[in-house]
Subunit: 138 residues, 2 copies
DNA sequence: CATAGTATCTATAGCGACTAGAGGTTCAAG
DNA sequence: CTTGAACCTCTAGTCGCTATAGATACTATG
C-alpha cells in the first residue's frame, strides 16, 4: 500500500494532480487509513501510470476516461480505442502543420531585421502591423 | 468611428474578446458615445489588427504587451522586438519537436492494432499501460 | 414620433488541466 | 512523547477567452 506521496514519486505525477484526477473521476477513490489518508494498491499505481502516459501523449481527460472505460469492457474495445488514438494522432498532425506555418512566418519576420540597412522601422513590428506582408495565411 | 461590432467584423476578433483585451490592458479604453458605447478610430483598428496578427502567430498576451510598448519607444526597439520574436520562434520549434515525437509514438500505437492475429489485448491500451513498450521518451 | 429589433453595456461564471495557498490533522522516527 | 514531514480539505488563481443574464442604447421602418 502506498501513500499519495509514494504514488507521486513512482508515477511522477504531482500530489495535487492525483487528488484532482480523483475529483474528476479519472481515479477511483482509494481506501483510507483511520486518519483519513489515501492508501493505494498496485492497481491504483497501474491506473495512474496509464493516465500519466496518455496525458504525456496529449490525450484529453475525457479521452482517457473513454479509454479507461474500454479497458473494463474488453469486448470490441480495440476498435474504439484505436479510433480514439487515431483521432489524437490526426489532432497532433494538425497542430504540427499549423506550427510549421508559424515557424516559417516567424523565421521570415526575425530574419528581416538582420544586418544591413538602416532600420528606421523595426521589421518585426511592421510585419506584425501589416498582414499584407505575410507570405501565407495563418 | 467604428462601433465594437464594426471593429469585430473588420478584424475578425470577437466582440467579447475585444472587451477582454481592454480589461487586460492590451487595448486602451476608447471614446464613448453619450450612451456609453465604445467608438474606435483608425488607430484602434490598427492596434487590434496588430494584436490579432501576433496572437495568430502564438505570441502570448504578455509578449504582445511588450511589443506594443516597444512600438511607442522606437529607440533601440528593434533588437528587443527581434528577441521576443526569436523566443517565440524557438518556442514554436520546441513544440514541433515534441509533437513529432508524439506523432511517432501514436503512429506506432495505432498501427499495432491493425490486421492479423487475434487481438486478445488491445494494443492501444496495453501500450498506454506499459511505458516500457515505448520506443522513446516523451 | 413610436416602436421593433438589433447591438451594446456590465458583471459574473465557466472552460481545461492543473497549481498554489491557508489552516488544520496524522503519521513515522527518534 | 515530541517533532517535523506528509497529509487532509477548501478555495482561489492561472491563460485566453467564451457564454450567459439582465439592462440600456442605437437604428430602421411605419
Amino acid at each position: 500500500m502506498f501513500s499519495i506521496g509514494e504514488l507521486s514519486r513512482r508515477t511522477k505525477v504531482k500530489v495535487p494532480t492525483i487528488r484532482y484526477y480523483e475529483t474528476v473521476g479519472l481515479l477511483t477513490a482509494p481506501e483510507r487509513t483511520e486518519g483519513n489518508q489515501r492508501r493505494y494498491d498496485r492497481a491504483g499505481l497501474q491506473r495512474l501510470s496509464f493516465i500519466r502516459h496518455a496525458r504525456d501523449l496529449g490525450f484529453s481527460i475525457e479521452a482517457i476516461s473513454s479509454l479507461i472505460e474500454l479497458q473494463d469492457h474488453p469486448d470490441r474495445s480495440c476498435q474504439a480505442a484505436t479510433d480514439i488514438a487515431a483521432a489524437q494522432l490526426s489532432d497532433v498532425r494538425a497542430k504540427i502543420r499549423r506550427l510549421r506555418a508559424l515557424e516559417k512566418e516567424l523565421l521570415r519576420i526575425t530574419k528581416g531585421c538582420d544586418g544591413e540597412g538602416v532600420s528606421e522601422d523595426c521589421y518585426v513590428l511592421t510585419s506584425l502591423a501589416d498582414h499584407e506582408l505575410c507570405e501565407r495565411e495563418h
